[in-house]
Chain length 254, copies 2
């Protein structure tokens, strides 16, 4: 897997016959699908794209050029993380990630919906230079409190149960990024372990889930990318070790 983000003018890599996910390394929505692909132990290719200078071919896979998009068959794709993830879970029924009870499935979706206020607050806090509205901080903590309350009432290690499931993989990419906010000076957004004991334990447990661990980025890394994006010049390729090559004469393709 290359951490390089392809951009306008770059050629679409050849199709290998595997499932192929178009993503951006720091995108929480794309991460949702990466985690599901990992958790279901599916074999897949990952192609990162630059969202400011999109390669022309992304629109063949995603009508608005958004990520994630999943190429499930050459030239045919599904867009939207939630649509992709339910598709993967239904198409590959081994290691099911959704609850079997219809009510619990509805409750999982409502939990995600109720958490969306915290997500919006996160985006404003991370990428908006303007002064924070107090209700943003309030909405953020309402979202976290709601989440912790739900954990308490479920009483399981993960939201899904003893193992992490779709609901966990849908929420997690945001929690991972929330941890970067205090490093960006947004101390009102810290997840204080005194207030959020259960949530803190949950966050630590999620970090050890193999599907998560394989794609996890530390708060410092998220903070660094976020800072570059907030300045209007997102450093998409900051994790690309092949970029070192650019300091030396380029190797010819083998």
């Amino acid at each position: 897997m290359s951490e390089k983000h392809l951009q306008t003018g770059d050629v679409l890599p050849p199709y290998s016959g595997k499932l192929r996910l178009f993503a951006m390394r720091f995108c929480p929505y794309a991460e949702r699908s990466v985690l599901v692909l990992n958790a279901k132990k599916l074999d897949y290719d990952l192609v990162f794209i630059n969202l400011d200078h999109k390669p022309e071919w992304i629109f063949q896979f995603s009508p608005k050029g958004t990520v994630p998009a999943l190429e499930y068959e050459q030239g045919k794709a599904i867009f939207d993380s939630n649509i992709i993830n339910v598709y993967l879970d239904e198409k590959y029924p081994d290691a099911p990630l959704q609850a079997t009870d219809p009510l619990r499935r509805a409750e999982d979706k409502m939990l995600v919906e109720n958490f969306s206020g915290a997500q919006s607050a996160y985006y404003t806090a991370a990428f908006n230079a303007q002064a924070l509205q107090p209700n943003m901080v309030e909405n953020y903590h309402k979202g976290l409190e709601g989440l912790q309350k739900e954990m308490e009432s479920r009483g399981t290690k993960f939201l899904h149960g003893d193992e992490a499931g779709l609901v966990d993989f849908t929420i997690w990419p945001f929690l991972e990024r929330f941890l970067a906010l205090p490093l960006l000076g947004k101390t009102e957004f810290a997840i204080d372990s005194a207030k959020y004991g259960l949530l803190t334990t949950y966050i630590e447990a999620m970090k050890t889930v193999p599907a998560v661990k394989a794609y996890y980025l530390a708060a410092e890394t998220h903070a660094k990318f976020t800072e570059s994006r907030a300045k209007g010049d997102p450093n998409y390729n900051m994790l690309d070790t092949s970029a070192v090559c650019c300091m030396r004469p380029r190797k010819k393709k083998e």
Copy 2:
């Protein structure tokens, strides 16, 4: 069923033990769930609420006070039309409304997603006094063209198949309301049968589906409500025949 919309101060009607849907008579999202309840031939109560002067108890069922909300057990509810509808279809597996193939299920969701541009354009056209942006009209027709193209490629009477299904009941409430736009002077939004032949046939077919027919309102009725809402004074109770009673001395409860 009373067409009266309950408002702030009004008492919550007693729970009958049936499924109970909280709705607003002219809300397209609430209509989605009404159609699914009808299509699955479920027995339910319907309670309409005034969205400008919400009864206090709606927040027990729907955290933001939005409709639809489904009380599936006394005091316990599910919000969001899509969450409600999938729940109903899974919980009551007779007369299934979703495709069985995971890919087709994903395609149905993408179709709804792709149609959302037309929905936004409709809202702007119907309720915004400001001059229409040309791209709004364009987005609207892009949505309709996409829909018609999908119908062509599917080649079935309904989007779901020979019978209408969840995807049809999700799209339909908007098509029903789109027909009101020309009556409001928005002639750019007319669905011209020369250009939209297949879509026109589909619309006529949908009007004959029993689940739809039982709740269908003519374009003139939608136009009348829309006009009142655009003026800032939505006439929620315009279909409430019991309102005639108010002209006479009130009958005592029996």
